[in-house]
């Protein structure tokens, strides 16, 4: 019997209601295969994803966070995804500086017609996270104490 558990990435996917969620739906209806590693959260717009949500997902053990929204120019709230780009860039930089791999955060534009792209992105991102391995913990264990500056 196999005792050691294989690493299965846990990915939180925040999909905008108007495009990417519909894209995921299309992937499902078209019976496209993609890995079952994502947990989808439907949001009204990619612009509603606060950096808090990203931090919280990692804090609670997500190995990757995927944010997907309408293509630029297609956001149903006009400027929502402009904010998303900037936030994602900022968060990538911040995570990186804190020592967390920025590759665990991904932003994609997926329209309602792009079921194929959705499946592709999930497949690819899952593989990426699989190679990165489990996300490092947020715990600041006292065992890690370094000297006071």
């Amino acid at each position: 019997m196999e005792t050691e558990k294989k690493f299965e990435p846990r990915i939180v996917a925040m999909l905008c209601n108007w495009c990417s969620y519909a894209g995921a739906d299309l992937a499902g209806v078209s019976r496209l295969q993609y890995p079952p590693n994502i947990r989808v959260i439907r949001v009204m717009c990619s612009g509603t994803v606060s950096p808090h949500h990203i931090v919280h997902a990692f804090q609670r053990g997500a190995d990757g966070v995927l944010i997907a929204g309408c293509h630029i120019g297609d956001c149903h709230y006009i400027r929502g995804n402009y904010m998303t780009i900037k936030r994602a860039k900022f968060m990538e930089g911040l995570l990186n500086f804190a020592g967390y791999s920025p590759e665990r955060l991904r932003l994609e534009w997926i329209s309602a017609a792009e079921g194929v792209k959705f499946a592709e992105v999930v497949r690819e991102f899952t593989e990426k996270i699989r190679t990165l391995g489990p996300a490092p913990s947020f715990e600041a264990s006292p065992r890690l104490a370094t000297a006071v500056l």
Binding site: F90, G93, E139, A145
Partner: protein, 263 residues
């Protein structure tokens, strides 16, 4: 200070003036009014720092009708500018008198503008363009950086000193007290505490370094927020504390737009 600040008080330009007073040889922030203006001293260069913009904010909130003067360093002026933009202080009700920082202090702070716009006291010295501490961290491998930070974060006693002293932390409700983001009964807090605070400093931190100065655990917080400032400049093209009245973080409009096109 004896002449300039006294004059402002005498002429009624300001109702109170925030400067400092030396007590037992230490510099303390002090509110001067017409009643105690004879206690004003001669200005001396010093590296004493205190959250004067925060004290000003507290008084201005209590007495919205009053006009206050304040003796500011470069960073304190930036804080006041930022507070204007977030509608926390009224531009019409603040009079700033500037003092320049010494070269030593500027070097210690790695300060990018160690002097206010108008310098009434002291000589402006050269700014420090780059932070050696940020560069040192950038050079590390990701895993080492994580170890480095966790090794510091684990000393955090969650005293909230960093937040309480910060001149631009003015919210009445704080995400750091949200028990889902930062668990209430967990010590040391996990990285979320520091990341959430770093996120909130995006577009606000004016790099005064008081957070790091008060931290009882000696956590190099300023380095983290220096990087936040750098990212904000790269991504939003904005440097908090400028005097142009607008911040992309408080203003919805064309400033928010990126050139359209695929990423």
């Amino acid at each position: 200070m004896k002449t300039k600040i006294k004059k402002l008080l005498e002429e009624g330009r300001v109702d109170g003036f925030f400067a400092y007073k030396t007590i037992h040889g230490f510099f303390f922030p002090y509110l001067f009014t017409k009643e105690n203006m004879d206690e004003l001293e001669d200005w001396k260069p010093s590296s004493a720092r205190y959250p004067i913009a925060k004290l000003l904010l507290a008084q201005a909130r209590k007495n919205p009708e009053k006009t206050y003067g304040v003796l500011v360093r470069g960073c304190e002026e930036r804080a006041v500018h930022e507070l204007y933009k977030w509608n926390q202080l009224d531009r019409e009700k603040v009079v700033m008198v500037g003092q320049a920082c010494t070269a030593d202090l500027a070097a210690d702070c790695e300060c990018w503008k160690p002097f206010p716009t108008d310098v009434a006291y002291g000589e402006a010295v050269e700014p420090v363009a780059k932070s050696a501490r940020v560069e040192m961290l950038e050079k590390m491998a990701g895993e080492d950086r994580l170890k480095w930070w966790l090794g510091h974060f684990n000393r955090c006693v969650k005293c909230f000193g960093c937040r309480d002293v910060c001149p631009v932390c003015f919210c009445t409700e704080c995400s750091l007290e949200h028990n889902k983001l930062v668990e209430t009964d967990k010590l040391p807090p996990d990285s979320s505490f520091h990341l959430v605070r770093a996120i909130h400093m995006g577009g606000r931190c004016i790099d005064c370094g008081l957070c790091e100065e008060v931290c009882p655990a000696n956590i190099p917080l300023r380095v983290l927020y220096k990087e936040v400032g750098k990212l904000v400049e790269e991504v939003y093209g904005y440097k908090p504390g400028s005097d142009d009245g607008k911040s992309p973080f408080t203003f919805l409009g064309d400033e928010l737009m990126l050139p359209p096109g695929p990423r």
